[in-house]
Amino acid sequence: MAKRTLRVGYPGNYREIEVDSPDAEPAPWDADSKLAVVGKRSPRLEGADKVTGKAKYTADVKLQGMLVARVLRSPYARATARSIGLAKALKMPGVKAAIEVEKEARYHGQAIAAVAAETEAQAEDAVAAIEVDWAVGEHVVDVEAARKPNAPRVHGGKNPNERGGEAQNTATEEACVTALKKSHATVDITFTTPVVTHSCLESHGSVARWESDGSLTVWDSTQSIFGVRDGLARGFQLPAEKVRVVKEHMGGGFGSKLGMGQHSMIAARLAREAKAPVKLMLTRKEEHLAGGNRPSSVQRVRAGADKDGKLTCLWLQSHGTGGINGGANCAGPLMSLYNCPVRRLWHADVITNASPAAAFRAPGHVQGMFALESTMDELAGKLGLDPIEFRKRNDQNEMRQAEYGEGAKMAGWEARAHLPNSGGRHKARGLGVSASIWGGGGAPGAQARCVISRDGAVEIQCGTQDIGTGTRTIIAMIAAEELGLKPEQVLVKLGDTTLPFSHGSGGSMTAPSVTPAVRAATAAARGRVFEACAKSLKADADNLTAKGGNVVAKGGASIPWAEACSKIAGANVSEQATRAQNFRGYKDGTAGCQFAEVEVDLETGHVQVLRVVAVHDCGRVVNPLLAESQINGGIIQGLSYALLEQRILDDATGRMMNANFSDYRIAGPKEIPEISVVLFDVSNGRTNTGVMGIGEPPIVPTPAAIANAVAHAIGKRITDLPITPDKILAALGKK
């Protein structure tokens, strides 16, 4: 380890710290680093492929002799297939394989059987010919009904539907009651949030092909190629190296594609049975029914503050359902954001006959922040304090404190008091705020390889995946920075398990995990080029730098990059690096805050978000163009969650009623606010790049900021998401 002194912090607040970084790694970038490529707005490298239709997604893969699969899914929320008759289906035209998947159906849409046929139409016709003798059982989909002692047990026997308890290191009820009694102001509010689906435009899907040597190749719409590889290897009891998973482009994941999905196993099983490659893409309805979801929540928040506006107690009692399994805990923000002497959490996951939850962009935090930040506004109101002032008094994060200042200026916070009456007779406006909080520091273990050829070509190989965040582009930018080249001169290979290992793309982990490995590998390979060309420059390799497309010696002599590379002995130099542990550094999480301005139609209850000001930090920003896109996306998904989205199950049958894009509403062009993004530049000194993730932080505060803006506009608080017109009309007493 080498001791290095770094300048860390953010503009107006820098300090020097000493960190231990691996000897083999280049010196970490800090606030003083002058970078030529990193930090610039740089269009995506795969842009031309995406706008011309050339980019191939799993759905577009076409192989010689490929069959198409379709799945028979349970029309019942709870039923047992006494028998599954495949004989008729197998005799249908074009059908090459049919398999049984599962006899116990615990939710509407559970996979029961599957077929592979020459065409999609044949596969659908064959699925319709599968004969199932159903024994329909009792289901429960309502979260409150499922908690009752006499409710049907979702997992049978005596397995309880509710799995709950108090958190570790949590204050007692008595301590909370006492703290609340002593408080100057208290609130007791129950917030509820719905189940929402990821609704990725590309559904989950796989193309599976068994090779002649008994190995398996799978093209998969996944956020985790190695995760799918390992899952398939386990499922088929193969060594991991016998499974190859490929994903060049992927049409949205948002957390729902982080593990191996059942569809991948089904496709591979059918392919083995049929002795031909099989493609299985879920339909939109299947995607809603079985593609994962964000769990619901019921959060009772009891909170208090003293006369000075300091929190005295935060007490969360929550439950929620992630269907047949899946944690619904959403206490993260309440347990960590603010200083508070007395904090208690009791939470229960409620099991219902609905499809299983999956990680969804900032799991738990979106629900939890909505409740916490709504609570903060209510408390501020009771204290007669400005909502930002109240937050600042309880928030020790100096970055967020500064971010509030920046955001308040842009959002026009000072003129806030006039807003509610500024919309004319039938409209009311409001401005709301919310904090954000997330980790996003990355993890060790990601690997990258840099191969520099004699002709000067540079290739970065990294088994990560670009899920639409721009990973491919920022990898090229990091390498280009090290080599004094342009990003488009770097060829990035990713999305293939034959490449060096990287983690699944989730948890805002990709950029902070991958970029340090890329930088270290590139620096090492560059060192080999310097060694090879040092003689021609009559300089010591240690005195060479790469910039502006040249290799430059300390004295000023330089040769073009390609010429320097031509001195490489052999075909190329190749160096691999593994991402180290995070250094001690400056800050280990991201802060951020958002302001939302809304206009509420007092006649129709319609809420239009006019503008969102988003102030976020994510360490070193590699490419502001892409970081801003992530923030825009998080905000709009948050808006969609706040105002539009909810999975609706028919209580009598347990069936999802709005499994399409017409009745399951996601935000479209007319719902989009003007968005102003401020990227707070933070030098965090935690890795050699100092990059942090920005995928999740921007969705965390949006629903809360919108809810607070609505409350500001109409003077009534909506505690139940989504904030649909019926709820506004009811709050306004309209009949």
């Binding site: 006649e603 028919d650 935000a667 007319k670 019926d726």
Partner: protein
């Protein structure tokens, strides 16, 4: 994917009527609604008869009786027709209010008027409700937040068309063609309540199809106001079509028809009366409030009452001088 069928290109209206007399035959305009039903597995025609292959059936023309719009005229072409919009602003607005640009580019006026409801239980193959020839309405004790506040069942769908309420307000006539020849009727008579026929919202004889709609220009002032939950793309939560004549500050003739709240376009005679007996400005309150007289909301959809009032109020206010 839909069930298989035989596809026929009709070359004349007469030929279409003959082809549609085949067992299991259905007519195809733009196809968006029909294909949607077929993909959901709730409809499986054996024959599909293409009407867009009939030359001239998509004509939009002014006649001595007003405007005649052929059944296969695209909604986009109606919305974009400058002369038609001058005479019948509400009709153009209603066509423009439909769905999305793509659907308006595919969808025909005939298809819009004869589209089937969006009730979740109707559209899901898993349910055999009264509209599909099964028993009862599962929405009565189930999910009914978007369903009807008018009409007495046994089915509680809302009519999904934007153009239909406007054309009822404009007193349009539908021209139908069947194997036995042509006939025409006021468009209001085309639609039937579920109490009369739960299986279908409109009445056509065997082999019959919509050939054209004729709209008189006797009511020169018209508008269509649609309230959606999601502005980008939605069916109406509530809508209001008004057509009439204005003299100075008041309506001398007015027809008020509600959309999205009843199984058929729902004429509000009380709102019309209130609209006629007040100045426009003074009519906003009484007319919008009375528009929901007689409404009988279900367990989840009482919020559509203020929505409906808002649609009516907004429609009336649009006639006030700016």
């Amino acid at each position: 994917m839909t069930s298989p069928f035989t596809f026929w290109d009709a070359r004349t209206a007469e030929e279409a009527a003959a082809l549609l007399s085949k067992k299991g035959a259905m007519a195809l305009g733009g196809g968006v609604d029909l294909l949607g039903e077929m993909k959901e597995g709730i409809r499986a025609p054996e024959h599909i008869v293409n009407l867009r292959s009939i030359p001239g059936l998509d004509k939009i023309q002014k006649t001595d009786r007003g405007w005649r719009v052929g059944a296969t005229a695209l909604l986009t072409d109606i919305a974009d027709h400058a002369d038609l919009r001058k005479d019948l602003p509400g009709f153009a607005e209603s066509a423009e209010a439909v769905a999305t640009p793509q659907i308006r580019n595919q969808g025909t006026i005939g298809g819009n008027l004869a589209q089937r409801p969006r009730c979740w239980y109707y559209r899901a193959a898993e349910f055999a409700c009264v509209k599909k020839g099964g028993k009862g309405c599962p929405a009565e004790k189930g999910e009914n937040r978007y369903l009807a506040i008018f009409g007495d069942g046994p089915c509680h769908i809302v009519h999904p068309s934007d153009c239909a309420p406007m054309l009822v307000a404009l007193d349009a006539r539908l021209f139908l063609r069947g194997p036995d020849g042509a006939r025409d009727l006021p468009i209001a008579d085309f639609y039937e309540l579920p109490s009369k026929n739960a299986l279908c919202e409109f009445t056509l004889k065997p082999g019959e199809f919509i050939e054209a709609v004729e709209i008189p220009t006797a009511l020169p002032r018209s508008t269509y106001v649609k309230i959606r939950e999601k502005d980008s793309f939605d069916f109406a939560i509530a809508a209001c079509a008004i057509a009439g004549k204005i003299d100075g500050d008041h309506f001398t003739d007015a027809r008020v028809v509600l959309g999205g709240v009843a199984p058929v376009p729902w004429r509000s005679v009380t709102a019309e009366a209130n609209l006629r007996k007040n100045t426009i400005a003074d009519a906003v309150e009484p007319a919008s409030n009375s528009a929901t007289d007689g409404a009988r909301p279900m367990s989840q959809n009482a919020w559509k009452i203020p929505m409906t009032k808002a649609a009516v109020a907004r429609a009336i206010r649009s006639f006030l001088p700016r």
